[in-house]
Symmetry: C2
Subunit: 345 residues, 2 copies
Amino acid sequence: MKPTIKEVALEAGVSIATVSRVLNDKDKVKSSTRERVKNAVQKMNFQPDLNARNMINKETKTIGMIVPDLSNEYWAQLFDVLQERFWNHKYTLIVCSTSHKSEKETAFVMSFIERRVDGIIIGSSLAGPDNESTYDMIKNHAIPTVSLDPKKRGMNSVVGDHLQGATDAVLHLVNLGHQNIAYIGGPLIPDTRELGYRNAFMLNGLVVNEALIKRGNYMYAFQFGYQAVSELIEENLDFSAVFCFNDAIAFGVIKGLEQHGKSVPDDIAIVGYDDIQMASAFKPALTTVRQPIRDIGDALAELLFESLGMDTETLLATPPKNISFNMELIVRESSGGPVSPSKKT
Amino acid sequence: MKPTIKEVALEAGVSIATVSRVLNDKDKVKSSTRERVKNAVQKMNFQPDLNARNMINKETKTIGMIVPDLSNEYWAQLFDVLQERFWNHKYTLIVCSTSHKSEKETAFVMSFIERRVDGIIIGSSLAGPDNESTYDMIKNHAIPTVSLDPKKRGMNSVVGDHLQGATDAVLHLVNLGHQNIAYIGGPLIPDTRELGYRNAFMLNGLVVNEALIKRGNYMYAFQFGYQAVSELIEENLDFSAVFCFNDAIAFGVIKGLEQHGKSVPDDIAIVGYDDIQMASAFKPALTTVRQPIRDIGDALAELLFESLGMDTETLLATPPKNISFNMELIVRESSGGPVSPSKKT
DNA sequence: ATGAAAGCGCTAACAG
DNA sequence: CTGTTAGCGCTTTCAT
């Protein structure tokens, strides 16, 4: 058995209170006794039990985070940024990946509550009836939360302005002369990127061909893109460009296109979203929309820390903050650019 | 404040012991009282505090996992597989990403000990003096551990047979007629893949040109590959093929090669390692060595559960198990194949 | 079948 | 400065 504070006290010939004191060095302790205690701690290889501590402090120094898919580089990187931030404040970040299954989200939140996490970060945002109760649970337990989705039920949120990002992306394609632009979406509902897609059409007085929109609650983004574009081709639809929900889907789309003898960007222009590492390396290099992950992570952490410092009353009374970040269109080969992203109608 | 068992007991008009009983439905409780308690629980939205429970049960239902880099798809996928397995057994998996910094490994292990995790999974395996103490700490505290590195200090381990995998990969290149094969390694020391590389040379009576080996403790695999191959070119070295530690590096290498006007596989043949999703989509499609992630994850989980069920004495007395998995060479375009992987000298 | 009471390992008053 | 004591929220004997 691991040694407890009692054993250490015995070894050092002091009371457990004194041991506790040198451990937390709050109260004054005579330096000679302090030394004795420290030696005992060292000798017995003692590590205080964080859980026992937390029970008293009414906090767990733990943050729970839910993401839709950790294999997605965007989420992996965001996690990295956040883990770093929280670690510096002695918090442990627990991630749970839902693999786009909404029932899991609820289960994860329940487990977070059982574990008494100090805060929650919601990265996924699936639709469905389950979720209402999920958010209610969080509200009921008054747990500081930041969502990565816009204005979700009065929660704090940090979001990319995907309406702007998607609009820019599709505008770029329109400016290149494309009229029949397909959209291969993600599992999000509602999807701001789709809105941006429609917005770009509206701005140009164009009409969206609904048949050119594919949505899906997929498991593997890459495969989904591959499959969706294959359907588009097999349905004999006329399109000269595809805007994709994210880069992984875009890669799948490109692969699918090539498999069907189409070349990118000569036959079909492609724009992705996220600007993951591989985007610039891919052949053709991917035109995409870059998310400022670091900034998003920093803002998120800051917002959560703010809430963490409040008592329940203040927390409940404070209106949620919604922070938004601009997205940047990166033009590369896959869209048949280069064209300046600012070159609007 | 969240309701405690006391409040529930009051509400239901029973003692806390009874509430505890229906919560764990161990002892017999009259069905009428059980109902009353259940209603109270429901009404007050009560969730028992897992930490308080764990304090008594001497377990935390938590497993700590350390990986070198979560943005690496291999680790992300392995985490996914493991999270699923452990979740089914009511365990929470905490991942920590070291970003290849060995000091972090020690820090994470210490935090795991403080949190009294029930088990540890070590995915990274960095060299350096720090690590000795890290492993000693785990040993001292008698925490069930499975390493993803071979035979590390008498620990359980589940590993891919990278000696075999790398040997096959390089043999493939040799069979294709290459003699000057560079190796761009990873942060691991010792590195079995490098050994496989050397082994393939030995098997063919060839001599390794040490100048063609690049190693590095990098942050971003892709960039490292890019940079390493650029150095190779700038140093004016003669090589016609590159074997890479992983696929992300391979992509960087290909990018770097193209940037210097070399074409893959016509000028230079490339073989990667891992077979991540993108490998088949990349242009040229990447010849690589596939790791059986699912199998590795399953074996790992099983091994850890086995240890979890032992008392300290048995645990310490049980000799470590070392499970190894075969790797599979997947021949695609980047090596200038196709050649059957079994076609040896 | 149920309640009272003794802790789990630790911190935080409260006395000396 | 340091020891004693009362809990944190829960499980688990031991009685009843």
